[in-house]
Symmetry: C2
């Protein structure tokens, strides 16, 4: 099975467990809406890519960790779209969960996805119990307090924000977690992968800032101009479009340079180059060409 | 250390990890507000009581599981108090998290507590990896989809609700999970404890319905009459106060009868009797005496 199929199949297995025949029908539908069809699945792909580079000797563990990372990412999107945050009615070109099912179900869908993520890691790594605790810790670190997504969102409620700390928590942490989880799932030392994940996460955030500032809603499938509207820190506001684009290229190069020695480094590098290309808005890619 | 100290100390350890010096200050304060000072800590006490009855041969595992159960309970209260659910401004006699810190931080506090709960189980059961996966599954089952707290809340969004299914998911599941986690933490078979936890959870829900219908806000520390205001299913509406009180006594007796053979059954029975007494509103206890 190719990576894409493994990811979708692991997600389907997890979601089917949560949305069994006895589940309340509306939330089951809403939870499925939050996960399928997905976006780029970049975090589970990153986890798979690093696991592959490290040998991927326990594919079920990798599949479980990758699915968990995506479920947690989906949870953060559902909650981030809610009225008390971005109040976004559009996500991946379709109505957001709260727009379609209401606020209370959106809140519950996010909660349910977080629980399902950790349950999935535990279930799928039962044959490798020594890896389970490390996987759960790495993933929890990436999404929770004090340095994960939750902390990143919470920095928005502070009067003073350090841009780097904010981005590292809100976006970078799950990239670091995805890279480290990939190594852990394959029984490898996760620490050499931290810098790689960190640079990739920062690159992704800068690319997101660029898309938010110049992309059209139709192209990226969600409302644009959100950072300006919510007065959030943004690399384009800080560096200008040209400066942000230059910074993005430096970061992608830095991520590639940080790949630890491993048998399949070339494939990983190719994946990152292709991701970086895809993330730059067409207008900028053309003007910079 | 006595049970109460063990519970508070394990919670303090977990919360301190989440609210380290580098955490965003406001959410750190809000998260702490959600957990301390606590309510009756009935779920972690139940976990401890069952673990003690089963030998409690790995106290750190019990402490971690008990803390996780309480963190998840606190998370459900924070989210349940939010405007899209009960819109309750009062909890445990103090302002609820969203009333004090706003909706967005309340949402994040709940998310952070869920993550912290699973991280705590993993960290504290690292010396007993064979118990870790089962503990995480049992706890996830109790709080997630399709049968846990999340499902219970989600039933409120359905047109047709089966009262028993609803209560079992919204409240009973975490009692079952607490009892089973106590057994699992001590390396015992969790299944004989299911019926015990189930009956106890139903008893607690009936007691809660009674308190909601007759208690004063000052006595129970949160707004009363919520079920009637939100048109939720309620044992008092179904059976009347007298009938509900009778049913409560039957359920407590049934829970005690369901305690599996174990060395310290007497202590467990005493705990349940004392809990049941505490949960009946003073007005009713006096009129029934």
């Amino acid at each position: 099975m190719d990576t894409k199929s493994r990811i979708e199949s692991a997600l389907e297995k997890a979601v089917a467990r949560a949305c069994g025949t006895k589940a309340p029908p509306r939330i089951a539908e809403a939870l499925r809406h939050a996960v399928f069809p997905g976006g780029a699945r970049i975090r589970p792909r990153l986890c798979h890519a690093v696991a592959a580079a490290c040998g991927d000797d326990a594919p079920a563990v990798t599949d479980g960790a990758a699915a968990a990372l995506e479920l947690l990412h989906c949870a953060s999107l559902v909650h981030d779209d809610m009225p008390c945050f971005d109040d976004a009615s559009l996500r991946r070109g379709r109505p957001s969960v709260h727009a379609l099912y209401g606020e209370s179900l959106a809140l519950l869908v996010g909660d349910g996805l977080i629980v399902l993520a950790f349950e999935t890691i535990a279930l799928e790594s039962v044959q490798a119990p020594a890896r389970m605790a490390q996987l759960i810790s790495a993933v929890a670190h990436a999404v929770g307090m004090p340095h994960g997504i939750v902390a990143g969102q919470a920095w928005e409620a502070e009067e003073r924000i350090d841009l780097e700390t904010y981005h590292r928590a809100k976006t970078g942490s799950l990239f670091v977690g995805s890279a480290m989880a990939g190594a852990l799932a394959a029984g490898a030392d996760p620490n050499p992968w931290r810098l790689f994940g960190d640079r990739l996460g920062e690159a992704y955030q800068v690319a997101d800032d660029l898309r938010d500032s110049v992309g059209s809603a139709a192209e990226i499938g969600k409302p644009t101009g959100q950072d300006a509207a919510h007065m959030r820190p943004n690399a384009v506001a800080r560096l200008g479009q040209g400066g942000a684009l230059h910074h993005l290229r430096e970061l992608v190069g830095g991520a590639i340079a940080a790949i630890p020695p491993c048998p399949r480094a070339g494939e990983l590098e190719a994946l990152i180059m292709s991701e970086a290309k895809r993330l730059v808005p067409k207008e900028l890619a053309q003007s910079a060409a």
